[in-house]
Symmetry: C2
Subunit: 249 residues, 2 copies
Amino acid sequence: MARAQPAFIARLREFEGLAEAEAGALAAALGDCVEAEGRTDLQLEGEEGAVAYAIEAGWAYAYKDLEDGRRQIVGFHFAGDTLGLRTLLLRTSDHAFRTLTPCRLHRLRRRDLEGLFADHPRLAAAVLWALARDEAIVVEHLVSLGRRSAEERLGHMLCELACRAASRGLAEAGAVRVPAPQTVLADALGLSVVHLNRTLRPMRERGLVEIEPTGLVVRDLGRLVEEAGFDPAFLGIYPDDPDHPDHML
Amino acid sequence: MARAQPAFIARLREFEGLAEAEAGALAAALGDCVEAEGRTDLQLEGEEGAVAYAIEAGWAYAYKDLEDGRRQIVGFHFAGDTLGLRTLLLRTSDHAFRTLTPCRLHRLRRRDLEGLFADHPRLAAAVLWALARDEAIVVEHLVSLGRRSAEERLGHMLCELACRAASRGLAEAGAVRVPAPQTVLADALGLSVVHLNRTLRPMRERGLVEIEPTGLVVRDLGRLVEEAGFDPAFLGIYPDDPDHPDHML
DNA sequence: CGTCGATTTGACTAAGATCAATTTAGGTGG
DNA sequence: CCACCTAAATTGATCTTAGTCAAATCGACG
């Protein structure tokens, strides 16, 4: 029985014209899905050595804990994204991953990945591209933390998340749900929960976002993008081109 | 006449056992060096399309300007590092590069890189590794900006730079010179120059660093690493292993 | 009904920014 | 050699942003 193509492969193919054989080999390496509960840490070490994941469904995030309990969230990931690939490549484990919602994940073992690159070299180039794109997002996040005010950071991050999610079809009725509690958003933005909450208020009053028990909902992405002065170019997304597959909302 | 191996190739080889043919092809693609003056922006577009650089000598940094003049420096780069590779791969140009000192650079054209990956697929894996390592550094920087105090940030960044520089043989008599004025350090750390200067003072008084006209000099890296609680694991450097080639100072 | 985590609000504090001089040190021209 | 210029470094005074502490509220769920 033929199965639908894994989300990670679909995303790679948007960029690199992968041959059937390559896509097939990658699909074989991805194998079956594991289920993970919401709000749990993901294991990066299995019985067979280091693993990374390709997300099939659900949201997760990468974070780093400091010794004294402070925590910085590095980025959010969902269907089509990869988790821990860098860690797998570098053989270090400098940070951790945690689910926000229940997730369906493909395991990626280092051994399999190495074999894959040896047999299908173009896959290395494709993964290289995926990694470059992830890094562009991290860099933009870094710029926000270094030089933008709380309000600007929040606006930019919500734009980034909503644009990415929308471009992968995760918008519901024109709205994008970010299934993260405020504690998590605060740790991503380098803010205290209290200050995040206060920064959020004016945005809620203007109808840009809404807080629901299941997470924050971006109600008016267009206006948010405009008010935040957000430029989605670094995402490789083209929101103004209705003919482009990434056109959203 | 045989020339010494470019620094970038030497660095790749530390990690991936590249065959002679691969190293030779990469060396051919790198070609001759360009000279760049200190304190000048690097062009990312040439007559032949987008270019990136592999640094042979000198220091440079990647930065992003915001509309209103604020600036965030993303990272510092020197011999063996690459500049603009991500931009080249993604075909976007979301930030810029500027030299600190006079630099000797190899140009890397997109066309050449694509041909290289097609002919020598293991090079794609090697570059993938280099990119992963760069990203680990960016992530650590991001954590600093989000959750560490000015003093902690400064300590960590100096450790990172000094460890990296030392591991590539850029230490002089046990000291590492970071050829950056305080304005640049401040923009990297997300601080004002005034506050950076004040944060620097206690470190100078304790003899950890020194300010000289040509830049900041890290005098006692060991103590700095200890006081900052810096863990160089994410750099892929092993300072405590005298047998390892990365052993420093 | 009670509990627990998440959210919200108020009052106060602190880290770091901003503004405004002043000093320093190299480099330049005379 | 000296006067002068400029970019960088330094210092003081004041202001703002965001953090901390503490308490109250809310909502889902057993």
